[in-house]
């Protein structure tokens, strides 16, 4: 609860800081504010479930842990922005403020107790993302992406709202407990089923599950890379936290009704994400499909909905976020240094010979790719292991078979990057990386390896 208040207020402070002559203060200030919010977040650690604002918002260890993942991800991403100093047209104060505000939306989604809060949080987060996607104003692709994202997002929001209305119509309540109580009475009406499906569709759009994924590649590619990273990690984590909360708190009573739909969507998402990623030439676009495929793996845990699910989603989100941040973190300096005719170069070829030019970046990249591919000794392996474990516990073996086959396909496109970095000769342009930037990347890599070797360190926390 504290980070919501803190960041709402501190976001405004950042806006005012924007009036200062020197923009240099913005980055440290934002990082400081995020750190403050992170500390504020864990004040309520281990205090059981606390309900705020007349049943609107709940705080417990799980929501705090999700908040923690979101905050740490945000901290790393903000740290990699370098204050937007190399761009005269940029408006860093606004960007930072919007990022902080969007986190408030994410927290609301993570801890919502009332569907209104879910909607509010989702919109705060989404609108912020529309703006950030289009922040590179002179870039046509950025504009196009923002417009696409906005149009389709608005459509999905409409569906979600419609679903919420139907749920209210059926149950007479917006609260999770109210809906659960209604289902507990038995014999729910058709309105409830329709409402659930529409809400699910609205949410699945946000986490880019197939067949509602079409916006993802175009938007991810068009948006400035730093905001793509933001989208790929924070929106996804918050989206899955919200989906998990919704399904586990209210709809376990009619599990038999919704799981098969979710399972089919899961399979479709896995297929689309992994198979289409194979043909991509752009690293950024590949990561977009990779983000679709990871949505698929996370959906497996939701589909299984066992007592393990909450831990597996948490661990998976952490592992995925950290590895994705590393991947984008390596791409950003590389694409800038190897820019051709003013445009950043984001194809696989940009990575050629990276191991020679900058062994550190190559190593960071390798660990992140291994983690995304789910190779042992990285956090990504355990993420997949826990997710698959929950499906095995539920006994949905056919889903597991598809998932394992698809993760084999995943190795192809993740390893292409490693091969480019280590086995191909490239130009010898020097890649310069600021020390602070390096610290962020190395920390993220250490996290990936540490939780890959000792996952108990993380799972023991919650």
């Amino acid at each position: 609860m504290y980070p919501i208040i803190l960041l709402s207020f501190l976001g405004i402070v950042v806006l005012f800081l924007g009036f200062a002559k020197s923009k240099a203060i913005l980055l440290p200030a934002t990082l400081l504010f995020l750190a403050v919010a992170l500390v504020g977040n864990f004040v309520e650690w281990n205090q059981g479930t606390i309900i705020y604002f007349y049943n609107m918002l709940a705080v417990n260890n799980l929501t705090l842990a999700f908040n923690g993942i979101v905050l740490v991800s945000a901290f790393m991403i903000v740290a990699m922005t370098r204050g937007f100093q190399d761009d005269d047209e940029a408006q860093p104060a606004e960007y930072y403020a919007i990022m902080l505000f969007s986190l408030v939306g994410a927290f609301m989604m993570i801890g919502f107790e009332n569907l209104i809060m879910l909607f509010l949080g989702l919109e705060i987060l989404s609108v912020a993302m529309y703006v950030l996607t289009g922040s590179d104003k002179r870039n046509l692709r950025s504009n196009e992406a923002a417009l696409k994202y906005f149009l389709m997002g608005a459509f999905a929001t409409g569906i979600l709202l419609f679903g919420i209305a139907l749920l209210y119509g059926a149950t007479g309540s917006f609260t999770l407990t109210g809906i659960q109580a209604y289902i507990g009475q038995g014999n729910p009406s058709y309105l409830l089923y329709g409402g659930l499906l529409l809400v699910l569709i609205g949410m699945l759009f946000k986490v880019s599950a197939a067949p509602f994924h079409f916006w993802t590649p175009d938007v991810y590619e068009g948006a400035p890379t730093i905001f793509t990273a933001f989208m790929a990690t924070i929106v996804k984590t918050a989206g899955f936290a919200a989906l998990f909360r919704l399904l586990s708190h209210s709809f376990t009573g009619i599990y038999d009704y919704w799981w098969i739909t979710l399972a089919v969507i899961t399979v479709l998402t896995l297929l689309v994400g992994n198979i289409i990623a194979v043909y991509q030439d752009s690293f950024k676009r590949m990561l977009a499909y990779s983000s679709i495929s990871h949505a698929g793996y996370l959906l497996i845990a939701l589909t299984a909905m066992t007592p393990q699910t909450e831990n597996s989603i948490l661990f998976y989100s952490m592992a995925y976020s950290v590895a994705t941040i590393c991947a984008f973190g390596v791409l950003i300096p590389l694409a800038r240094e190897k820019a051709m005719t003013g445009k950043p170069r984001e194809t696989y070829e940009a990575f050629n010979g990276l191991a020679r030019n900058n062994p550190l970046l190559a190593f960071v990249l390798t660990v992140s790719m291994l983690s995304l591919a789910g190779i042992p000794l990285t956090a990504g392996f355990w993420g997949k292991f826990f997710v698959f474990g929950s499906a095995a516990e539920r006994g949905i073996i056919w889903l597991l078979v598809v998932a394992i086959l698809m993760s084999a396909v995943g190795i192809y496109y993740y390893f292409r990057v490693i091969m480019a970095a280590y086995m191909k000769e490239g130009d010898t342009a020097e890649i310069r990386v600021a020390p602070f930037y390096k610290i962020v990347l190395v920390t993220a890599t250490i996290i990936t390896l540490l939780f890959g070797i000792a996952p108990g360190l993380f799972t023991g926390l919650v």
Partner: protein
């Protein structure tokens, strides 16, 4: 128990490894040696502190849980350390002898370009070895087990420009993998049978099982296969002599004093299980005894100073397994300790000789070195005396204890043991006489360069010589009017085993006079062998024949190590190679077809799927709507 202190024991070498491993190109040589040795010494100091703290706290094992490591379903594997008599003794050997060898290496490796690399590997080895003995469950032991295997591989092939050395490293690795497979299957069986890998939990449950239980038999056999690989027992011993390709300090630390005793550690650690499986113990005893005499017989005719010591190590490890097989667990541990002292000393002494001889290792070209290398000579002689089992040095007490237990158990095994001890005495004195006595047989240039080694090398020699001389007094048998402090210290380790099979731990039936006779026999045999060696190599100053000379039948077979390497090559390697040839010519075609076909299929699908991404927003929304309609239609109307 000070947890931080305990954690420091493995952590210090790890830190040393990281510093030297990452920065070896930039750190000056002096600092590299200092960092590596300080890490080992610090670890030793912490071990001593932990030992003292443990002695104050009583005799019960202490388990220090660091964090939850793996939690899958019912199985919970914590990352925790177990401190008890066994792990403490191993700690003392590993860090103590390890520190000495680190210091020795500063002198020995001084001129090597890979100095930094060497020290980082050595520290990494210490880390894994400490993990192996500190872990409180089989999985941590396995990590250490694999880790030391890796370091052994890296260090055997340390001079990786030489193809033979690389092959030796690979051989060691592959042979160990065979053993590891057994170990791994053993762990799986333990998980299956007990649902846990924690020592305390497994042994607690095992007490409920009857003696001779089939599952326990399977587990102990599988674990023993692992031990055979790591501790170089027949049939998996051939890698150890080849492992002498590594730098000599490595041979001393890894291939004599510590890593190869991991198999013994494992059996003693699992003493409850082994006590429940008398059939396994019988096999262990036979394998040990046969290895002891077999390797000793090969040692008789070897001419490479390090090869002789290598076969002697295999043979001594055989004695330790013989001791385990007759349930003389603490006697075996005693021999591990004394062996660590005198065998490390022998290797380091050999290293000093090789250092002086400008890398010559063939004893046919040595001789008369005692005047030029007095310290090396005296310490080497002490070690020879100790390993030959002559009183009052360390080897006498430990070997005799094993032989006494063997006598009680089975007279034949005892006979083999005594014969082996005669052979040991002979080949060791042969080595001593050929190297240090007589006249110099090397080239003129070598003679010119002869010099005693620097202090960094001789000080560890002297310390180890002292330990080899007096180390045996921690276990003086009652028959000689002493008290067996080591056995008393280790006694609580076997409480559980005593409970499940009290008969096996019955008090010794030997009278003191019988024990005296046994001791007299083995000492006499060793002395006679030493005298024969004296007559042959000093009185008659015989020198082993050069490579080219023809040898008679039996001699030839023994000289060529019973052609075991060639046998393995014909029986395993060649058929495997031809099978692999068949598979690669035929199988590869089929598999390629399949693999590439799959790849093409995925790529084709990918190309098709890619075309759905048209970029047109109307199309996207349309696809979404279709999705929504299908979902709603299917769920609401068809269900």
């Amino acid at each position: 128990m000070p947890v931080t202190l305990l954690v420091l024991i493995p952590l210090l070498p790890l830190i040393g490894f990281l510093i030297n491993g990452i920065g070896f190109r930039h750190i000056p040589k002096g600092a590299v040696g200092l960092i590596g040795s300080l890490a080992a010494l610090g670890s030793f100091a912490a071990s001593v502190a932990v030992l003292l703290a443990f002695k104050e706290g009583g005799s019960q094992p202490m388990i220090v849980s660091l964090f939850d490591w793996i939690k899958v379903g019912e199985l919970n594997i914590p990352f925790s350390f177990q401190v008890d008599q066994l792990s403490l003794l191993m700690l003392m050997i590993i860090t103590g002898v390890g520190s000495l060898i680190h210091i020795y290496s500063i002198g020995y490796m001084k001129h090597d370009p890979g100095f930094g690399k060497f020290f980082s590997f050595l520290n990494l080895f210490l880390f894994f070895m400490l993990l192996l003995v500190l872990g409180s469950n089989y999985v941590i032991m396995f990590i250490g087990w694999e880790g030391v295997g890796l370091c052994s591989y890296l260090l055997i092939g340390f001079w990786n420009k030489n193809t033979d050395f690389n092959n030796a490293a690979r051989k060691a690795f592959i042979m160990n993998r065979i053993g590891d497979l057994g170990f791994l299957l053993g762990i799986f069986t333990i998980i299956h049978a007990f649902g846990s890998v924690e020592y305390t939990e497994v042994f607690r449950q095992a007490t409920g099982l009857p003696v001779g239980d089939h599952v326990v038999f399977a587990i102990t056999m599988l674990l023993f296969v692992g031990a055979m690989g790591k501790s170089a027992q027949i049939p998996l011993y051939t890698w150890l002599p080849d492992a002498m390709a590594g730098p000599t300090p490595v041979s001393a630390l890894i291939h004599a004093a510590t890593m190869v005793t991991a198999g013994i550690y494992m059996v003693i650690r699992s003493n409850v299980l082994y006590t429940l499986a008398p059939e396994t113990l019988e096999i262990v005893a036979v394998v040990g005894a046969v290895t002891a005499i077999f390797a000793a017989s090969i040692g008789l005719l070897q001419n490479d100073i390090k090869k002789v010591l290598a076969y002697s190590t295999v043979s001594q490890l055989g004695y330790m397994f013989l001791g385990l097989g007759v349930m003389a667990y603490s006697a075996s541990m005693f021999h591990v300790i004394t062996h660590a002292f005198f065998k490390a000393l022998l290797f380091l002494g050999a290293g000093s000789v090789i250092h002086a001889m400008s890398d010559e290792q063939d004893i046919r070209f040595m001789g008369g070195l005692r005047k030029k290398l007095p310290i090396t000579f005296i310490t080497f002689a002490v070690a020879t005396w100790a390993i030959a089992g002559l009183p009052p040095f360390a080897g006498f007490f430990s070997k005799d204890e094993i032989l006494a237990h063997a006598f009680e158990h089975n007279k034949l095994l005892w006979g083999i043991g005594v014969l082996g001890s005669a052979l040991t005495s002979f080949y060791m004195f042969r080595l001593l006489f050929l190297t240090f006595f007589g006249s110099f047989r090397g080239t003129h240039e070598q003679e010119h360069h002869l010099h005693e080694s620097p202090a960094a090398m001789t000080i560890p020699l002297v310390i180890l010589a002292l330990l080899s001389a007096v180390g045996g007094f921690i276990g003086v048998p009652e028959a000689l009017g002493g008290t067996h402090q080591l056995a008393e210290f280790m006694s609580p380790l076997f409480d559980t085993a005593r409970q499940v099979n009290p008969e096996a731990f019955a008090a010794t039936a030997l009278t003191h006079s019988e024990e005296w006779i046994l001791m007299a026999v083995s000492v006499a045999v060793a002395l006679i062998a030493a005298v024969i060696a004296y007559v042959m190599y000093i009185s008659r100053s015989a020198v082993p024949a050069p490579e080219s000379e023809a040898r008679t039948g039996v001699e030839n077979v023994v000289y060529h190590k019973y052609y075991i390497d060639e046998l393995y090559d014909t029986v395993f390697v060649k058929p495997m190679k031809s099978l692999s040839g068949v598979l690669s010519s035929f199988g590869e075609f089929v598999i390629d077809l399949f693999v590439e076909g799959t790849g093409k299929l995925v790529k084709g699908l990918s190309n098709l799927g890619r075309q759905t991404q048209t970029g047109s927003i109307g199309y996207y929304v349309f696809a979404m709507v279709v999705g929504i309609v299908v979902i709603l239609f299917w769920n609401l109307l068809l269900n």
